[in-house]
């Protein structure tokens, strides 16, 4: 029983990472109907930005302040990167077919992955520890301070996002754009600006996930975004793509089921489980758990 609870804790911690990345997928899909293949790579860039920032800050003792600087700095850098990707790669093909958009996204993803291998070197790097660490025990269940940080930071960021989307003008405009881009434009909403903000937000969340994973599993490499990105995408689809609470729910479900498969079955099926879930969802309930059906107009 206690191992089971331990797995749940580990799963929630991993799932929070997926959820943070999944939010970016779901928000971008909401406004552009695009699977932003490069999103997982932005997450990787977030981890690397965090890595270089924390190297610069080294000398200081691990402290909460430096951890905060690293986190926010990385989020800012990736927000800018996200906006640049949208501006220079996706905006020129926004009105083209969805296939063109998808291939463009694949191209951007490959570009970042290979560029990163060139710039950062293909070998893994080890993330320095940023904050003082400690283990907590709840009966037989152990929670590391990293896991706790991951969960707390994720919850905070998600609450902030929720507030932003539901309460602010820009958030409302974002919802309008994702409901109907053309109508939103006619209502005087600057859709270009909203789309750019969506990319900035999604990328910042992915960067936070990158820094958090760097703190937890201190190994990062230029291709780390591929699998995390794909699984986070699966999480978004599972929850109902375009649906923000759905992305969080999907992320947690994928995280927990992956940890369970590794714990009780075999680690070689680690990557197959997410795809298995994806296929089941798309065949049985393609709109996802919280999504709504959309039928093409004839």
């Amino acid at each position: 029983m206690s191992t089971f609870l331990q797995q749940i804790v580990n799963g929630i911690s991993l799932g929070s990472i997926y959820a943070l990345i999944a939010l970016g997928y779901t928000m971008v899909y909401g406004v552009l109907r695009l699977i932003n293949f490069a999103h997982g790579d932005v997450y990787m860039l977030g981890a690397y930005t965090g890595y270089y920032l924390s190297r610069r800050l080294r000398g200081d003792e691990p402290s909460v302040v430096s951890a905060l600087i690293v986190m926010l700095g990385s989020m800012l850098v990736c927000a800018i990167i996200g906006v640049l990707i949208e501006r220079f790669a996706y905006r020129p093909v926004r009105r083209a077919s969805r296939l063109t958009l998808l291939i463009t996204a694949i191209g951007v993803s490959l570009f970042i992955e290979n560029g990163a291998q060139l710039v950062f070197g293909p070998d893994p790097k080890f993330f320095p520890s940023l904050a003082p660490r400690a283990d907590f025990r709840l009966g037989h269940v152990r929670i590391t301070s990293e896991q706790l940080t991951v969960i707390l930071v994720s919850v905070l960021l998600m609450l902030a996002l929720r507030f932003f989307i539901l309460r602010t003008r820009t958030g409302k405009a974002m919802r309008a754009v994702s409901f109907n881009l053309d109508a939103a434009k006619l209502m005087g909403i600057s859709t270009d600006r909203i789309i750019a903000i969506t990319f900035a937000l999604g990328s910042a969340l992915a960067a936070a996930a990158g820094v958090l994973i760097g703190m937890q599993i201190p190994k990062i490499d230029p291709l780390m975004g591929i699998m995390y990105g794909l699984k986070a995408f699966v999480a978004a689809v599972l929850g109902g793509i375009g649906n923000i609470p759905g992305a969080v729910l999907g992320g947690l479900l994928i995280g927990v089921s992956e940890v369970m498969v590794v714990g009780y079955l075999s680690s070689t099926y680690r990557d197959a489980i997410a795809f298995g879930i994806l296929i089941l969802v798309l065949l049985l309930r393609p709109q996802g758990i919280l999504g709504r059906v959309q039928k093409e107009k004839v």
Binding site: A89, P92, L102, T104, V237, T268, A272, I279, L282
Partner: protein, 336 residues
């Protein structure tokens, strides 16, 4: 009769070229083994690109799991020739050595193609109901699942890979099957059945309203395409003599997509051109290996922005030539 003569001519021609390239026909006449290998890999990629184009280009369904079917063909055929090779050769003692190897290869390829086709059927029936990017992601998922499963089958080497495969494939066989693939796909798309595929690409709802059984057409095109990917995988295994699941990740699927996108979705000659260009550039830029993928991906994005239909678009190469050069034959390349 005429068709038989053409087929015989193609076989003989390939045999002669094969002999010349590999130095077995005229002593002293050959090309470097490296260049020969590049040519052979290009041939395998032609099969992959042209077959994937049947789904992605002509039927308009976006699959990114082609490498999975290639893997099935590679592993199944290699398993057959490794396990039953001696027995099959034993039955065929009346043939000369080259004939025995060829027959063994054909048996392996047939099994690989059938299994890949069957997998294509299993994957296609449920997933082809989905559209666009959803289908893309499901095929990607299936491709990865196929790979993970093979990785866990110890009988085919698991994580060690499968080694000791006989070198049964060569330039001759690879280009014979490349020609056959081009022939099959070009005849299919210019038949009544092929028109249903293109109609689905153009407007699936209208195609269904015109009485086209869209599910059936899509599944057939997926199965044919998977079978051909299986053949490519079998040739790959019997050419390189060693296979590992790392050769069949979704990166490989994306490479094939880049080839058909460069050439033009919906153009057979475009796919051939794309495959050759891709391999040519990859090898040509070998010295700059670390920069070349950066360059490719950059060019892919630029291509999507300035010419999303690819170099040839929906058209075939011959359609770009002035009419009088076409020798009165308006049929595009590859026609029989």
């Amino acid at each position: 009769m005429k068709r038989l003569a053409i087929a015989a001519g193609v076989v003989a021609g390939l045999w002669v070229v094969n002999g010349l390239l590999s130095g077995t026909l005229v002593p002293g006449v050959s090309i470097s083994p490296y260049f020969l290998q590049v040519l052979c890999l290009a041939g395998i990629n032609i099969i992959l690109a042209v077959s994937l184009n049947l789904i992605n280009g002509f039927t308009g369904q976006f699959s990114i799991g082609h490498a999975g079917f290639m893997a099935i063909g590679a592993y199944a055929s290699a398993y057959v020739t490794l396990t039953f090779g001696d027995r099959i050769r034993g039955v065929l003692t009346f043939l000369p050595e080259a004939g025995r190897s060829g027959a063994l290869l054909l048996v392996g390829l047939a099994v690989g193609a059938l299994l890949a086709a069957f997998a294509g059927f299993l994957v296609g029936v449920p997933s082809l109901r989905l559209r666009g990017d959803y289908l893309a992601i499901v095929t990607l998922g299936f491709g990865e699942i196929i790979r993970v499963f093979i990785l866990n089958i110890d009988a085919v080497g698991g994580a060690r890979g499968l080694s000791g495969i006989s070198k049964l494939a060569n330039f001759f066989w690879i280009y014979l099957f490349a020609a056959a693939t081009i022939l099959v796909v070009s005849r299919l798309v210019r038949s009544s059945f092929g028109r249903t595929l293109i109609a689905i690409r153009e407007d699936e709802i209208a195609a269904e309203a015109m009485g086209v059984d869209t599910t059936k057409s899509k599944v057939i095109s997926f199965v044919v395409s998977s079978a051909l990917a299986g053949v490519a995988g079998g040739l790959f295994a019997h050419y390189l003599m060693y296979i590992h699941t790392n050769s069949f990740t979704f990166i490989k699927s994306i490479e094939i997509i880049i080839m058909i996108v460069i050439g033009g979705l919906g153009s057979i000659t475009g796919s051939v051109l794309g495959a050759v260009l891709y391999i040519g550039l990859t090898e040509g830029l070998r010295e700059f290996a670390q920069y070349r993928m950066v360059l490719f991906s950059f060019l892919l994005v630029v291509l999507m922005i300035v010419r999303p239909q690819g170099l040839l678009g929906h058209r075939e190469f011959l359609q770009f030539l002035p009419r009088r050069w076409r020798l009165g034959a308006d049929a595009p390349a590859g026609g029989g």
